[in-house]
Symmetry: C2
Subunit: 397 residues, 2 copies
């Protein structure tokens, strides 16, 4: 036992570092391969996760550590997306974004539930699959659009705004479905969560952001520590992410709003933007690879599961494109298509819903796999369509 | 059970984010307080850890997560220190650094062991305390000197070089002592570790670094992904850190050498330096707070433990100052004092040795506390002396 502890401490460090190296290096190698194939680098990084994950090569096992790094990654990603999003520009598209979000929630939820009914699933199973199809994971879309320098386009701003709104709606639906699955229907609690969520977004977007803009001439001014603007930004990011998760909103929404709140104050601070880009570039591969690592390929030996996955994915894509496209019809056909396709990726939010359903024992292992497939497939499908859709227009802010 | 899982998943995210926020925010608030008191910010960040840790306020419990973030933090810190260190400048001071390192290992080890013998401890206990007093934790010193812009001074380069060498020597001593404590004396294995460590450092410092300088005109050239230089830097950092830990050298040495290897190639890449500074500034507080969180204040209710801690710390300081100062005598009195004081902090290396000893059951809980106290106290003692010592000279490269 004596020597074992010393050995296992050293082995723990080795294991951790090898894992970090494999995740980061695999992500970047696959990103480079995909760039050379003229495909989005994000797809490469997610497929790197599938490849090195437990179901193909088994080089890296998902663990609490990889999960945590993935969570920090998505938070910093949404923070840096928020940093490119001025509140005024979201408010300007607020009405369209709201319509896009609502239609993009109602259609997938209803269609997903209906499809499961056709498969003979229970109501709770149907509602869980429907819920997993609701929330757009704006991270992937933002990464693609950011890479193209298109985050300022009107349709990009509608996508970001609608994604914030539909995340909130999606989490409300999840709260309702989860408490129904648990046999309770505490409408007071659900109503409180709803009120708090809306209040949180309103307070940050409408009060905190303008207040910062008005009263803080330069971020970190008057603070003596080095890199004060960066420290202040990270404190705000982690603080609002934590606050959001306590209120019952997704943490990524808090991070996004934090970025948005300091967007105007930090606009001409190139050093700050470079530093935030550094930490984002370091952490985001852990998020993307983390998604890929969760895809269990063996459940697809059963052809019924394969077909169900294909149908769920198809419905997930069509309902978002149609629902959100209709909501953005005022932009014209190309704008509506940009918004519709941009809202397709479900990513980690769908995965979280599936994990909760599996954990509660209300959906089966293969239904879990199907939802996971849908979440990843929608993430993989969108970017190749997004690029040409946005490349041809140049509609900047 | 059903609702519990959903709740606990959400609680897990809340808990994680609150912890991240508290660690980062406490570090920066305390850093600011210490800057205003004209004390080094690092002390503030370590004391933030003591404060929010389990033994004072109990706001954050050390966990696998905080431990991992702390480990990533120290790796990135040493990487960014390496980035400021050109191999040629280390080689130039190689002879002095070697003498400094050897004297700074022999004296603390012998004196620590001897002191324990006076206390009536066993040989193994004595050797463990001696070993914990051997390895300088260059992170703290580098942070202070870096903050003053003094990393290029001759004595700074001797400190960095000697710290690399004494880390290797310290880990060799640990390997010997740990295997003796475990009852084995496998000299072939110990010899192999020694050979591999020296080989690793020689290969990276003498072959890889000059090769990169000669054959890579611009880091990331020819790679298509965005921020390629940053990605390449991180891959090299994590790769060499992992390789070092597998060879049996400390991971931080691999990270330091990785930074050194690309120091010349990346010299005029301001964007890369800003990005690396961003990820370093984000992760390092987790390292500093992590050290502070491990200090259990309650063991010091026993005055015998307090006096032992004071004596061990005193011996630890005096032997490093005298040993390393003698080694650097050629620099004159002030240079010798700079090197001697700069080598005082033990930090995480001493803590790791203490943890291994406790884990092997060969040192007691209070002796563990004493070593921990010494590791933290030496870390706190050095910076206030370093500042005036370096502020008066301007001896740059």
């Amino acid at each position: 036992m004596a020597a074992d502890t010393a050995v296992s401490a050293a082995e723990h460090a080795q294991h951790l570092l090898l894992g970090l190296f494999l995740i980061f290096a695999a992500a970047k190698v696959m990103a480079e391969v995909f760039e050379r194939l003229r495909q989005p680098a994000v797809i490469g990084e997610i497929l790197a996760g599938v490849l090195i994950g437990p179901y193909v090569l088994g080089w890296v096992e998902p663990s609490e550590i990889t999960h945590t790094l993935s969570e920090i990654g998505v938070i910093l990603l949404l923070f840096s997306v928020g940093l490119e999003t001025k509140p005024a520009s979201i408010i300007k598209v607020g009405k369209t974004a709201t319509i896009v979000a609502v239609l993009g929630v109602v259609l997938p939820f209803a269609a997903g539930w209906g499809l499961m009914e056709l498969y003979g699933a229970t109501n709770i199973e149907g509602m869980f699959v429907g819920t997993a199809m609701v929330a757009t994971s704006v991270g992937i879309t933002a990464r693609v659009l950011g890479g193209m320098g298109m985050l300022g386009a009107t349709s990009s701003r509608i996508i970001l705004g609608a994604a914030v709104i539909d995340d909130i709606l999606g989490l409300l639906v999840l709260a309702v479905v989860a408490s129904m699955a648990a046999g309770s229907t505490d409408f007071v609690k659900i109503g409180t969560t709803a009120g708090l969520s809306l209040g949180f977004v309103a307070v940050v977007a409408l009060l905190l952001a303008p207040m910062l803009t008005r009263h803080v001439p330069r971020l970190g001014a008057g603070v003596r520590i080095s890199h004060a603007a960066f420290a202040a930004s990270i404190v705000l990011c982690l603080g609002l992410a934590a606050a959001a998760s306590y209120i019952g909103v997704a943490a990524i929404i808090g991070a996004f709003l934090a970025g948005m709140a300091i967007a105007e104050v930090s606009e001409d601070n190139h050093e700050l933007h470079s530093q935030i880009r550094g930490v984002t570039e370091f952490m985001v591969p852990f998020f993307l690879v983390g998604i890929g690592m969760q895809l269990n390929l063996t459940i697809f030996n059963d052809m019924n599961v394969v077909w169900m996955a294909v149908w769920v994915t198809l419905i997930a894509v069509v309902t978002k494109v149609v629902g959100c496209g209709l909501g953005a019809w005022s932009l014209g056909l190309r704008g509506a298509a940009q918004v519709g396709v941009g809202m397709v990726p479900r990513g980690e939010v769908g995965i979280v819903v599936a994990q909760i359903g599996l954990g509660m024992g209300v959906i089966s292992e293969s239904l879990f796999g199907v939802v996971l497939f849908m979440a990843i497939a929608t993430t993989l499908i969108a970017p190749p369509f997004l690029r040409p859709l946005f490349a041809r227009t140049g509609a900047a802010d």
